[in-house]
Amino acid sequence: MAGTEDETTAGGVPRIVGTSPVRTDGWEKVSGQAMFIADLPLADAWIGGTLRSPVPRGRLRGIRRDPAFDWSRVSVVTAADLPGPNTVAMIREDHPVLAAEEVRFVAEAVALVAAPDPETLRAAIAAISLDIEGLPAVLTMEDALDGRIVIWGTSNILAEYCVSRGDVAAALHDADLVVEGEYRTGYQEHLYIETNGLVAIPHDGGAIEIVGSLQCPFYVRNALARGLALSPEQVIVRQVATGGAFGGKEDFPSVLAMHAAVLAQRCGRPVRMIYDRTEDIRATTKRHPSIVRHRTGVRRDGTIVGAEIDIVFDGGAYTTLSPVVLSRGILHAGGAYRIPAASIRGRAVATNTPPNGAFRGFGVPQTMFAIERQIDRIAATLGLDPLQVRRKNLLRTGDILPYGQVLEEDVGAEAVLERVVEISGYEAWHGKVGRSGASDGHGVSPVAVDGRGDSPRARDEQDGRSLARSGRRVRRGLGLSLFHHGSGFTGAGEDKIAGRVHVRLVPGPAGDADGVYEVLVSSTEMGQGAATVLCQIAAETLGVPLERVSMPLPDTSVVPDSGPTVASRTTMIVGRILVDACHDLAQRLTDARVAGERGPVTGKAVYQPTPGLAWDEVAYHGDAYKAYAWGADVVEVEVDEDTLEVSPVRAWAVVEIGKAVHPVLAAGQVEGGTLQGFGWACLEEIKSSGGRFLNDRMATYIVPTALDAPPITVEIIELPHPRGPLGAKGLGELPIDGPAPAFAAAVTDALGLFPCELPITPERLLALQDGPPTDLASAAESP
């Protein structure tokens, strides 16, 4: 991971890619000077608020305004007042800006109010009442599938895809054993510390400007152009410093921007809408809950011969991004394993719950949890070590994925697995105590690797935690996971987006020699380090010091559309286009200066489809991703036998990402994603009652604090990829795919219980412990 400081580029400038300079936005963030949306002074702005449905489903018969309230003090917008079609354009147009005839989830927006101050706003919202006739609601995936109540389309199915390869029936028939398992995962709330928020500013002639905390400025622009019936040029979207997003500011800001925009147009002044935490949790998207069923045919030695996988995601009331989330989930459902015959079906169903959407991992954490648990189940059923089963089946260069893609480039699966096993002492641990599931409470620790002390967590008896723990009956366990993540959009997505990048040289007083280079992209910095990494790639390609390159906050009226900041595509895909734009700039600069022009020069490039890669959208077959990044996690957990509380006490994550442009930022992505994964595994839960979320505050939606986080050891392996800039592949999402299954495996190792559902709370473990014994062998059937 060390930087290669002594190397230099062709231009004689020290290498920049592969080193870890202080991030470009570092100072403004440690000093509190970074301007987030709530920090922008806007003296004449009004505040916007939302009146929401109290019921999961009902016919909206009327919206009544209390005549005693002075309505001239505020502006109100209902569905009847919208200037354009009542739709927030995303993949489909089923998501209304405001509910019109029917409300379809608790917290669905029904009316909007803008007021000069919070008190007036509160009073106005309280003076509006809804007349709703309740209708029977679909609240679970099971109810959606059984179809007795139809709330969407003809069958409640928002999207369905199938992937198949080979003759699965024959493979399962010929298998020594068919192992079956069902796995479930719950909601995950992004809980970015800065909630969703933005400001809409009306301009002359109906034009509108949006300034806000968001991930994808052009998504917002396109949604507003459609919903306000404006030309795209009449909509300007600007991002400001964004306090975390993780997918939660990918699709939802289009909804919020529509709300703020219609209010701003109505009251003729800027309208600021910043959700408080509770409104944010109740109304915005979450990770899709899932049910995944596996039937895997195996030979006695653990070789997988065929697999049937059935996936159901809870999409919530509207389509949002569910089809693409589902698609990515399906395409990763076989995990990092060779499956000669596979049949994978996935469905996203509609329920009367808030629409789910993008969340880091985008469908993969759910299906990866299922396949990884299934591999552990296969191992336990056959009496094999989970590591052996992984070694036997893992993907290697030249293998073919269930959807027909041949892995032609270096496959990092084996490298990450072997490395994580080595640094975590996984084999030593299991060697001492026997195989997983058969042991009873370990007192032995894995080998120390980095001088943190010889026990995994030899911590001083100084603080509350140790105090609470001293002398406890504790069991320890070690769990492992292997996973991968496709970089960039699925299938032909990148070809459709055709991302564009500009690089502009603005000469300084001394001409080009002290000029500054601007990277002009719609890619957003939301903490992940995009601004720093793209500047590094540009500086290295241009052969100039990093200080001379900057990446301004995107403004859709200035920057080209380099595509949304999602899908782990920014470094690999946008970075690649950026390299081309830098080369174009170099050429144009020479031409311009030869011609005697002195002004700014802009280099441009557009995404170039990769020759030879093909994706068949109908058959769901072909080269789904340009590249894959690989990861393996080991986690050690401690289970308190009296309370069944489980905590991760030590974690190791090894990732193979082609090239780490900025190793420190890359490691930071791995650490942060890993902890989000552990949070989802054991703490984060949303319970509902009648379609209403109960955990709707930070006091009840529980994410890890520094005391809940294990020390995380990260290693990065680099197998440079020919299609990435300087070899880099996508990284942002990969780290959240592996922690949950590793955590579950560690619980199995510690307790001999086999959790199949997330989060693994003490309540669930108690139910497992008190339930019928987990007889894994009975999960198998001999065909």
């Binding site: 510390i193 997003a245 509350g464 009956r473 930071g668 520094a706």
Partner: protein, 476 residues
């Protein structure tokens, strides 16, 4: 009301309603937007600042308590050319991602290093446990603090203290503020309000009838419950009795065989005080497992008992220690054993004209074993799924005497586990008895399912924690 204080060494004066949040004063009134809001309920720490040197969450600090205080915000720290060592540590270690949590983290780090200049990793994690970062996984933040601890910290700017003005009852936006400095004054305010308000001036109605007339007065201690959104019925119009300046209400002292804890004693004091640690380790443990540093700096013993939440952490420990609550009104004082103080869900015997002024505990005999356990939602900023406290004497023969067991979050109020206590009294511990106690404790409680846990688990864990107390603490 007008309030004068200093921010980053600069004297400031603002006109604010008494319960206006310090966070809003900083951001909206003074334009200091480096302090962030992530939750508005004390959970995330994005709004952390230093108040007279102590880490606090500015979303929970009311204006009325700022008079004369010195506040330090992120804006006072280094400059780009000369970053403060903590900021430098965060930059060098790559500990910053989206940056929204970072100003709070930097201030929490200052508070930690001021108390403990060379913290180990565990202490760092504990010191920052009230500051949630959703981006980094904390790994690099921990390293940044370690790095900062290696460099000498300049002391944060110390301001010339502005003289604290003792707020006089004053109409400000329809509300009246009382900041008495003596208990007598406080009790008179209470009686006046309890008996129909100053306008009546009669002051001789039976205090029992106070309930209907006291609704407008808010008693304010540390504000960690009261400042939560929705906690006050009418924040703008009610009047406030602020206890923070009343002399003599905070502190721990021992007279003869009684240890007395003033009602304004903070949870941080209970966690750190050597006498509490020595004589009441169950209480000290409960205090250490309470919230996170900034909450402990503000939350008070009196507030915890007055709120009477079934999930509160201090009551089970104090029930096990057979504590007495001292209630005072203008007409006198009374001592109430804590085991009859709670009467129902968030109900107590305290009359509305009474203040909790102290808690008294008879110093436990030297052979008393005590412990407190909390099965919480996480390791810090955690509310109990269930909690258990125990105290018992174990004589040379191994016989249990004066057994007291209490539990939280398993009934409408904090309770004694009376049946289990009876079972154990006078018995000699063996494995079978432990098992019986486990089962009886699980059976005698009346837990409910809520957002944090369910009935089965609450029964299970209560039994197990009772067993743990017996097994680990009560062997001869």
């Amino acid at each position: 009301m007008r309030i004068a204080f200093t921010v980053n060494g600069v004297p400031r004066e603002v006109d604010a309603p008494p319960l206006r949040r310090l966070l809003d004063i900083l951001r909206d009134d003074l334009g200091l937007t480096g302090t962030k809001e992530g939750c508005g309920e004390g959970e995330c720490g994005a709004c952390s600042v230093l108040l007279d040197g102590a880490l606090v969450q500015s979303c929970l600090v009311p204006a009325v308590q700022l008079s004369g205080c010195r506040i330090i915000t992120i804006e006072s720290l280094g400059s780009q050319t000369a970053p403060d060592p903590v900021q430098q540590g965060f930059l060098d270690e790559g500990a910053v991602q989206c940056g929204f949590c970072i100003p709070g983290m930097v201030l929490a780090t200052h508070a930690l290093l001021a108390r403990n200049p060379k913290p180990n990793e565990e202490a760092i994690r504990a010191g920052l446990s009230g500051n949630i970062c959703r981006c980094t996984g904390y790994e690099r933040i921990v390293r940044a603090v370690q790095r900062a601890a290696e460099s000498a910290l300049p002391s944060t700017p110390i301001a010339k203290a502005v003289a604290a003005t003792t707020a006089r009852p004053q109409a400000a936006q329809g509300s009246v503020v009382h900041s008495p400095t003596t208990l007598e004054e406080a009790l008179i305010v209470l009686r006046t309000s309890a008996t129909g308000g100053a306008a009546d001036g009669t002051g001789d109605r039976a205090a029992d009838g106070a309930a209907e007339t006291l609704s407008g007065l808010t008693i304010l201690a540390g504000g960690t419950d009261l400042m939560l959104p929705g906690a006050q019925a009418s924040p703008a119009t009610g009047s406030v009795l602020d206890l923070s300046r009343v002399a003599g209400l905070a502190g721990v002292c021992i007279h003869k065989d009684i240890i007395e804890l003033g009602s304004s004693t903070t949870v941080a004091t209970l966690a750190d005080n050597p006498d509490v640690d020595r004589y009441l380790p169950a209480l000290a443990t409960a205090a250490r497992l309470f919230g996170a540093p900034a909450i402990r700096n503000r939350a008070t013993l009196g507030g915890n008992l007055a709120g009477a939440s079934p999930a509160a952490d201090l009551p089970p420990a104090l029930l096990a220690l057979d504590a007495i609550v001292v209630l005072a009104s203008a007409s006198g004082r009374r001592d109430t054993p804590l085991d009859v103080y709670f009467t129902g869900y968030r109900q107590t015997v305290r009359r509305l004209d009474e203040l909790i002024i102290a808690v008294r505990v008879t110093l436990p005999a030297p052979d008393t074993r005590q412990a407190f356990f909390k099965a919480g939602t996480r390791r810090a900023q955690s509310i109990a799924r269930a909690s258990v406290a125990g105290a018992a004497r174990v004589d040379a023969s191994g016989t249990l005497r004066s057994v007291r067991l209490a539990a939280g979050s398993v009934a409408p109020m904090p309770i004694l586990l009376r049946e289990t206590m009876r079972l154990l009294e006078g018995r000699v511990l063996d494995a079978k008895l432990i098992e019986e106690a486990d089962r009886l404790a699980a059976a005698e409680i009346t837990p409910i399912e809520d957002v944090r846990s369910n009935v089965a688990y609450r029964r299970f864990v209560t039994g197990r924690l009772v067993a743990r107390f017996l097994r680990e603490y009560c062997r001869p």
